[in-house]
């Protein structure tokens, strides 16, 4: 097990920098998963608005009260510099000035120049508030044109604008299982990218060191067979990937605030199988001895590519059929497929999840075979075309 031991020693030397990466990844995934539950709820956005009522009539006060019902009113000195500063430092999102003559103009159905506002740019709050004021004045004008008196028009407008629409999130059913919360599903959802990045950064670099031309030359001259050497590389990579996976699982327990139970075990096994796939990809890629910069590029392309194509970052519902049909040939697709079944995003069936496991294992097996083939062609002793005679292997 010389190769395995050497791999272990080299990994140990690189561990401090590797740990930094892993910790960063864990923090990112914890943040990402803690944000997941927020995505499943809808709530009205409240803006911080300051109102300067220069008209000071019952009509203008009524508008101010209506705004106050839906937003937070902040008190700011009516000074241009102070207002600009407040907007800049986000103490207020929008400053509304109800111009003098507002009530009079509104009664006459004239809405030109009844408001002034301060804003830094065309931000969301500017558009949101502008739309509200347009809606309000248009509504009042509509009621007035119907012959209503101003008091009644204002109260009808207030009533109409106070109506709320029920909003339900499409993915709110995610995490339907009692043992598999929304947060937890998100934690496993992002794991492919994190695993690929963490494993590639460490395992691939160690493997590239092991596969360095001069070292490989010397190793090939020794009496260790190519398949034994490759087996030990797989074992070393698997050992490290397993350690990283266990770390992620331990963080998962902390995040879930309880041990894995029920359906969560499916997700745990799913991630373990995907870890094996990642280890196989890492050994395969390193067989080509990429340079450091190429390796970083491959890590990004594989990490981001698989994540975007297979629905790690983007929900698969919004991916086109063409993209999904390509993604079917990638292992991360089947990982996400199993994960979505476990999270009840698509109907759950244990057979379906196991099928996803088997497909992922198939990818891992194919990659191992490809690696053996590549190593045989690139590294092992020559296949002598003449007088091929395999002698007994003895060590």
């Amino acid at each position: 097990m010389q190769v395995f031991k050497a791999m272990f020693k080299i990994t140990k030397k690189r561990l401090p920098s590797a740990l930094a990466y892993i910790i960063v990844f864990i923090v990112i995934s914890v943040i990402a998963s803690s944000n997941a539950s927020k995505d499943s709820k809808f709530e009205m956005t409240k803006l911080k608005i300051c109102i300067f009522d220069e008209d000071d009539t019952s009509e203008s006060r009524e508008l101010s009260e209506l705004i106050a019902q839906n937003h937070d009113i902040v008190e700011i000195e009516n000074d241009r510099d102070v207002i600009i500063d407040s907007l800049y430092y986000k103490r207020a999102d929008y400053a509304l000035v109800i111009n003098e003559g507002y009530a009079e103009k509104l009664r006459a159905g004239d809405t030109a120049d009844i408001f002034a506002s301060y804003c830094l740019d065309e931000s969301f709050s500017t558009v949101y508030m502008g739309q509200f004021l347009d809606e309000y004045t248009n509504s009042v004008k509509a009621y007035l044109s119907m012959g209503m008196p101003i008091d009644e028009a204002l109260s009808c407008t207030e009533e109409a604008l106070s109506q709320e629409t029920d909003v339900s999130m499409l993915r709110n059913d995610k995490g339907g299982d009692a043992h598999y919360s929304v947060d937890f599903a998100a934690y496993f959802q992002y794991m492919p990218y994190i695993l690929i990045s963490a494993v590639f950064i460490i395992v691939c670099q160690v493997l590239v060191t092991m596969n360095r031309r001069d070292i490989r030359f010397r190793t090939n001259c020794s009496c260790i067979s190519s398949s034994k050497y490759t087996f030990q590389l797989f074992l070393g990579s698997g050992f490290f990937v397993l350690a990283v996976w266990l770390l992620f699982m331990a963080v998962g327990v902390m995040l879930n605030k309880e041990m894995y139970t029920g359906r969560a075990w499916y997700a745990v096994f799913n991630s373990l199988i995907f870890s094996a796939v990642v280890a196989a990809i890492a050994v395969f890629v390193s067989s080509f001895e990429p340079a450091d910069n190429i390796l970083n590029l491959i890590t990004q392309v594989l990490g981001l590519g698989l994540s975007f194509l297979c629905g790690v970052f983007i929900p698969r519902e919004i991916l086109s059929d063409k993209v999904l049909s390509v993604a079917r040939f990638l292992p991360a697709y089947w990982y996400i497929n199993a994960n979505e079944m476990i999270a009840d995003v698509i109907p759950f069936s244990s057979e379906g999840v196991i099928q996803c496991y088997l497909i992922q294992l198939g990818f891992a097996a194919a990659l191992i075979l490809l690696t053996l083939l590549v190593r045989k062609v690139r590294y092992s002793g020559a296949a002598i075309s003449t007088n091929v005679r395999k002698t007994a292997v003895s060590h």
């Binding site: 001069d214 030359f217 010397r218 002598i384």
Partner: protein, 316 residues
């Protein structure tokens, strides 16, 4: 009669249209330090790679220790040590760990391995550096580590592929002495180089390669006897009349002369007292001369005469 350790017969290796080895044959006996001499591209490394089954070949056969060498001849590989021009060690492992790794590819037994590592460390004189990382070692010490990694498992056949390239003279001498000691301890050594002085210094037998062919083979004396030139006499002389140059050219055993920049070069082939006879001609003509020196033929002269090109010129 010594046993044959390496037997290469009629080896042909092609890279497309290029013939890297052209019906190359070689036989190396047990205990020899066999020098493989030739310029870059002459086929030395291809020969070594074929010998180690790292390259397939188109025709011919290779036997090591009397058995056919194939990529899976691990019982043969077990007895071979390889030391390359480039230092092949792990930067992340210490001197001891590096030797342990490469030795461990051959020797499984921990106790036996430890003994071998300690002996290898002592042999190359790295006792004080076992806990050092390669990056902390000087160029010479790195080369010694490279050698230790190749010989720790006590191979019977050691292949050294230009192990002294870019090494300071002190380390070079130590390495060459080490190779001779390995030979005294019973190892058979194949030494490839384009440094003729080194090959002359340590090799018991030499093969000269050019364009994938073996152009000459023998001990250094045998090789030198193969060529016409046995002695080159150089005399510093300010003026040399043409008739005197003709007289010298006409002397027995002188086959060529050259006078330029105040230096007379006389090329002799065999014969005795050539220098005395030339000086006699000069004294009779009452011509004064300065320094006089003679040079015996070098391997470069052998190479020059056989191939028509100087060995060093071909490097470029």
């Amino acid at each position: 009669m010594e046993n044959t350790v390496v037997k290469i017969q009629d080896l042909v290796k092609r890279y497309g249209d290029l013939i890297a080895l052209d019906h190359f044959s070689l036989e190396i006996k047990e205990g020899e330090i066999f020098g493989l001499l030739g310029p870059n591209g002459s086929g030395k490394t291809t020969t070594i790679n074929c010998l180690l089954s790292l390259l397939s070949y188109d025709k011919g056969s290779i036997e090591i220790f009397g058995r056919e060498m194939t990529p899976v001849s691990y019982d043969i590989k077990k007895e071979i040590g390889i030391i390359m021009q480039n230092v092949a060690v792990f930067d992340e492992l210490t001197v001891y760990e590096n030797i342990d790794y490469f030795c461990g590819l051959y020797i499984k037994d921990k106790e036996k391995r430890k003994k071998c590592i300690d002996e290898a460390v002592k042999f190359v004189g790295l006792e004080d550096f076992v806990k050092f990382y390669p990056k902390k070692l000087s160029g010479g010490l790195l080369r010694r580590l490279n050698i230790a990694c190749g010989i720790a498992h006590k191979p019977k056949l050691i292949i050294l592929d230009e192990p002294t390239v870019a090494v300071d003279p002190q380390s070079r001498n130590r390495i060459l002495e080490g190779i001779q000691e390995l030979s005294r301890n019973g190892a058979t050594i194949i030494y490839t180089s384009h440094y003729m002085e080194e090959v002359e210094q340590i090799c018991t037998r030499i093969a000269i390669m050019d364009k994938g062919k073996k152009v000459a083979e023998g001990t250094k004396d045998e090789l030198k006897r193969m060529i016409k030139n046995t002695e080159t006499i150089t005399i510093e002389i300010l003026e040399l009349p043409d008739n005197v140059l003709r007289d010298i050219s006409g002397l027995d055993h002188v086959y060529d002369t050259n006078y330029s920049d105040g230096k007379l070069s006389v090329y002799c082939s065999g014969g005795k007292h050539n220098l005395l006879r030339i000086l006699d001609v000069l004294q009779k003509k009452e011509l004064g001369f300065g320094r006089v020196y003679t040079e015996l033929p070098t391997l470069n002269d052998v190479f020059l005469e056989i191939t028509g090109t100087a060995l060093r010129d071909k490097e470029e």
